[in-house]
């Protein structure tokens, strides 16, 4: 069922069993789990079915620290959320990503890979991925041309990525949701406030507002914030009428530990013979699965480095692609997207790589950043048109990221050398191990994570292992805000898996 909240009488009261705020991959994945059940699900979406610049403007905010994309264009504020722009890269986190690593400050989740494993399997369907197979051998068996560059997998290994079409949640799920009897989607229902009970131990209701000047109240037994990491933190911090530091923020953790993936060209690989590197090749819209080079858990531990992976692009193409931080520079997400894709498409179009493959490839890193309390979201003095203080981002990296990237390419260079396949040359900015600066082309991956991190203790995290805000009985966060560490893979596959797990938890709660 769909209701446009602009058309409801002012000060309507909406009631249901669970209220999900946000209709991106996290919110829709949870909502769809409840279709055809006896529970009334309220799905609140701040925007409409199409892009609306007035609503989008509420995402605008200042950034400091490491240069970042304009906040206004880094997320999408309408039905389907940022899945309207995402690229579909999916791979599960590794077991090591969930563990406490003594060389990575603030690492460790209160859940393990095994806890998420069955939900990863289910998330494959939400994202229109292939079989739940992330071993390289499975894919190599189907295509003999997918040959490894490595001598073995003890130091560097081949980690599979699968590619979603990419699933746009709006066209995929709109009809089902609009036709659903028990999922009540409210568009133009922008959450602006959260009201708790007297001792702030449970949420009583939330307030939604739209630019048509209507304000409504939503009551439910359980509330799920699924507005993505920056918004989730912002909304909790802004809900400071009853809890002066914001909800769930008694220990000053909400908004902290903002994490991105560093996405940065790092090295070049030279082969003695031309090679299409089929195992590592990615053709957008065609490739179903391919590998990136990853570093084994033992080597991460031995060298005390972060988890990161490396992908390949023929050098003649890569040299003509402008860095994302340069092309994704417009406040309007549609224009940024166009600039960004324009640069890639023209480089691919003008490629001179022969059919038999290239002899030279650019090696591109995606790496977790170490959780860092100073990398954070705070509230600005200025408010958006809904009356919510704007979000500011201070993105801060540590020296560990740079040291890790350098070591990763040293290890990759050693392994392809050992295999007698190739040699690797690190880029200038990695050559001096004492140089801790970042080059101007340092980019993120539009992956916002960690602002309401998961931990068993309220002293070290905002949500518990079930994504429930510590100290508040019926308030949950869905999405990558809950990640305690960022791992190397793009976040959506994991955040959908985590959302499905949260949904099961909520079902169990409602049964009791």
């Amino acid at each position: 069922m769909h209701i446009d909240a602009r058309k409801l009488p002012d000060h309507s009261v909406i009631e249901g069993d669970i209220c999900i705020v946000g209709s991106g991959p996290a919110g829709i994945s949870i909502a769809m789990e409840w279709d055809h059940t006896r529970y009334k699900v309220i799905l609140l979406e701040g925007g409409g079915f199409e892009y609306d610049d007035q609503v989008q403007d509420s995402y605008a905010g200042k950034t400091t620290g490491q240069k970042y994309f304009p906040l206004k264009s880094a997320r999408l504020h309408y039905f389907g959320g940022t899945s309207n722009h995402w690229a579909g890269y999916c791979s599960p986190f590794d077991s090591i990503d969930f563990t406490k690593r003594d060389w990575v400050p603030h690492s460790g989740w209160p859940i393990t890979f095994e806890d998420l494993d069955p939900y990863y399997a289910r998330a494959q369907k939400n994202l229109d991925l292939g079989p739940y197979e992330y071993g390289a051998a499975f894919w190599q068996n189907q295509d003999q041309a997918m040959k490894s560059l490595l001598p073995n997998d003890s130091v560097v290994w081949n980690k599979i990525w699968q590619f979603s079409p990419p699933t746009r949640f709006a066209p995929k799920y709109k009809k089902d949701i609009v036709n659903s009897k028990n999922i009540h989607l409210y568009t133009y229902a922008n959450l602006v406030d959260i009201t708790a009970n007297e001792n702030v131990s449970a949420i009583r209701e939330v307030t939604v507002r739209n630019l048509a000047g209507r304000q409504h109240t939503v009551r439910a037994r359980h509330f799920v914030l699924a507005c993505c990491s920056i918004q989730n933190a912002r909304l909790l911090l802004a809900a400071n009428r009853q809890a002066p530091r914001g909800l769930g923020n008694d220990n000053d953790l909400v908004g902290r530990y903002f994490m991105e993936h560093l996405e940065i060209k790092s090295a070049e690989l030279f082969l003695a013979q031309p090679n299409p590197l089929k195992l590592y090749e990615m053709e957008f819209g065609v490739t179903k699965a391919r590998c990136e080079l990853a570093i084994s858990a033992q080597m991460q531990e031995r060298h005390k480095i972060l988890n990161g992976t490396c992908s390949f692009t023929p050098l003649d193409v890569a040299r003509n692609i402008k860095p994302a931080i340069e092309t994704w520079n417009n406040e309007d997400p549609r224009k940024s997207d166009e600039n960004f894709l324009g640069s890639i498409n023209s480089a691919v179009k003008n490629s001179t790589t022969p059919k038999e493959g290239s002899r030279a490839y650019e090696l591109f890193t995606r790496i977790e950043q170490a959780p860092n309390p100073n990398s954070r979201i705070t509230l600005d003095r200025e408010q958006d048109a809904f009356g919510i203080p704007r979000a500011n981002l201070h993105w801060e990296l540590t020296n560990l990221e740079k040291r890790s990237i350098r070591k990763i390419y040293e290890l990759i260079g050693q392994q392809v050398g050992l295999a007698g396949m190739a040699r690797v040359r690190l880029m200038e900015y990695l050559q001096d191990e004492n140089d801790l600066s970042w080059p101007p082309f340092t980019s993120g991956g539009w992956h916002h994570m960690g602002t309401t991190r998961m931990s068993d203790s309220s002293k070290t995290g905002v949500v518990d292992a079930n994504c429930k805000v510590h100290g508040i009985a019926n308030l949950f966060v869905a999405g990558s805000a809950c990640f305690a560490t960022a791992a190397a893979p793009n976040p959506t596959f994991t955040l959908v898996a985590l959302s499905l797990r949260l949904s099961d938890h909520l079902k169990a709660l409602l049964k009791t």
Binding site: A272, G413, Q414, V424, R425
Partner: protein, 126 residues
């Protein structure tokens, strides 16, 4: 990889390199794999940087001795074009990569043997 079956087990007395070893130094100055992907200038740049880092390996003799180690050469290889000699070098480079005997020089991740070969290249006039 070239076959190294014979090269692996020969231990040969140390051979001091003299100017009479110039052809040897020259042939050692061509790292087989690197030469396929780098031009002569790049090899020399790597070599110069290596020598700057390793002042006790500044002369041809020192470098040749370091590369050959306690593996002699003349007693067992016909000349520097002997395929077993190439196999010996190939094996040495392979071993460097498997035992962490690698360096990052001018950004290149190279085996120590390759770096020394480049250092020789940087000393020998083209």
């Amino acid at each position: 990889m070239l076959s190294v079956s014979t090269a692996a087990f020969i231990t040969i007395p140390f051979v001091r390199c003299t100017s009479r070893n110039a052809p040897l130094a020259k042939s050692l100055s061509r790292p087989l794999f690197l030469s396929q992907i780098c031009d002569a200038n790049t090899l020399r740049e790597i070599g110069n940087a290596y020598r700057a880092k390793s002042p006790d390996e500044a002369t041809e003799n020192q470098l040749v001795n370091k590369i050959l180690g306690d593996q002699g050469y003349k007693a067992h290889f016909k000349d520097e074009n002997d395929p077993r000699f190439l196999a010996f070098l190939d094996e040495k480079i392979h071993k460097d990569f498997s035992t962490d005997q690698t360096l990052i020089i001018k950004g290149w991740v190279v085996s120590t043997t390759e770096a020394r070969q480049c250092a020789l290249a940087s000393l020998i006039k083209p």
